[in-house]
Amino acid sequence: MKGVVHPAEPARAGASERPGPFTTISGRPIERLYTAADVAGLDYAREIGHPGEFPYVRGIHPTGYRGKLWTMRQFAGYGTPEETNQRYKDLVAAGGTGLSVAFDLPTLMGRDPDHPLSLGEVGKCGVSIASLADMERLFDGIALADITTSMTINSPAPMIFAMYLVVAERQGADWQTISGTIQNDILKEFIAQKEYIFPPRPSMRLITDIFGFCAKEVPRWNTISVSGYHIREAGSTALQELAFTLRDGLEYVQYGVDAGLDVDDFVPRISFFFNSHSDFFEEIAKYRAARKLWADAMRNRFGARSPRSWQLRFHTQTAGVSLTAQQPYNNVVRTALQALAAVLGGTNSLHTNSLDEALALPTKETATIALRTQQILAHESGVANVVDPLGGSYFVEALTREMEEGALRYWETIDRMGGMVEAIEIGYPQKEIAEASYQFQQAVERREKTIVGVNDFVQADEKPIAILYIDDTTAERQLARLAELKRTRDNDRVQRALGGLRQAARGRDNTMPPLLECVRAYATVGEMCDALREVWGEYEETPVI
């Protein structure tokens, strides 16, 4: 495109425009028209590249979805392990191609079902997993050698991962060949989702322990899914999601390097997880810019030599926060458009939300519609026939470039603070997000931003839809099981194993081997986290409004 300059078409005399403002959902102004002049400075070969070529703006695979469709990975979990196990079997039977585990809040926070703070939370937002016994029930009849599993778990990621490895081992699956993902991204917990337990620095050590362990023992496992999803859900702009998430990624790489690991030994197993929000082109530009930013940073900042280190792979979930409780069937349409943006941006895997998720966890029926949405995109729309069909669009290329430049400016600010851990400690990304979320809400209140069915096109007398209602029988059942487990296991072995974990945490030994021993002894998630709480303490944030 270089050298081809067309002046922008002058506005036609007398042609009027709606009052506007013409901005993205993130508040970025959009011009009336983009022309060759907007991309005149771009060098195609060097700055965009063909699909499968550095810097991978157009995708990491030369054949795109003609080679392999994205993985349709539907996040699911609720109630007891048995109930969730049945949901997984239903999803696989319906054509889902990967599992994705949602844990309940006690599990996510490293608390057993019998802890006072778990009151009313057991099995509500996900499945309740307290010990290896629950994990065995969760994957009963599902061959871990043949399926990939993504687990959304962060602070207790090492404990849950150790449980998964022991279940795989008992099924006879080889750690050298099994694959899947643990989210394991603590930085975005401090920034956005707030499911942290330990302070930032010991939390980072647990992560580098997993990098080191997996490089040898579980080489195909994706050790971290650096997540922008939650940053966006907390109210960030698209640009903040891009900038903070990738800067988190750089932080993990730096900590890995500082722990003595070779970049090309662990970076290829780092993956990403983005949101797909409602502003169609802004999202597509975000994904395209992400690939370039990562490729450049890995090659130039960290000296990675392997193309696999340069290639950013990512999962996408449509924006939960965009779903409305009002006129919930409209959410099917929102989700379809968001899913299309993710696909046109080259996502490697995708979760589509269900229409009822502003009201409750999805029912089996609504979860099926969400999966069908992806299947319609993949098999009916034709978009999977061609790689990066929007490449070369004046608008999309210009927006991609702008996103990249904006992210680099954020990186400079964070680098000046000393890094992302330091930026988090002074509340910088937290403040940026809180401000953006308030600005957006104000724009909605003023009706500058329209949300159909909420602040415009409102419908009186809506009929309620049937939702999934999780009662308290899950909690009762999980509590009874936990009590039984504590009676029947070898409690001396549990105590010895927990002692070994504390010792590793105090010193520098990798924490994964003692965690595996704790798991085999049927120590609970709460007991393992408590052992580490004793050594490292708990993190408390200063809230930023």
Binding site: K124, K194, T324, A360, E541, I545
Partner: protein
């Protein structure tokens, strides 16, 4: 002399999704109220204790995790024990329709689901917190 309405915004339970709590805290402050945000993971005991110390007129609970039918009754019960029955409790978050009558029976009538305009929340609180001011 009238004083500003004092509101304690609290995040009970284990959930860390605080976007709504923070946006509401700021909106109420911009509407001229005194707002105290407790931060995350507060037990009902801590919340009621904050309301007592802060001489609150209103407690706003933000709950998205499904634990509201455990937390709300406990907060109301503790308020009664402390003689704070006149503190208005409002709830925002993901509250299924079928739980609304039971919350109403506890005296909780300000129940705000996703998509509620901030002005509606401001108006409700202004209209219901007058008794203590």
């Amino acid at each position: 002399m009238s004083r500003k309405i004092r509101v304690v915004i609290a995040k009970p339970g284990l959930d860390g999704h605080d976007r709504g709590a923070k946006v509401i805290a700021r909106a109420l402050r911009d509407a001229g109220m005194e707002v105290i945000y407790t931060g995350l993971r507060q037990t009902p005991e801590q919340i009621v204790s904050a309301a007592l110390q802060e001489d609150a007129d209103v407690i706003g609970l933000s709950i998205l995790s499904g634990a509201h039918m455990h937390i709300c009754p406990r907060v109301v019960e503790l308020l009664k024990e402390k003689g704070l029955d006149d503190v208005q409790v409002v709830v925002g978050g993901i509250i299924p329709d079928q739980d609304v009558p039971r919350l109403n029976a506890l005296g909780i009538t300000g129940i705000f689901i996703p998509g509620t305009p901030m002005q509606a929340i401001v108006d409700f609180i202004t209209g219901h917190a007058r008794a203590r001011v």
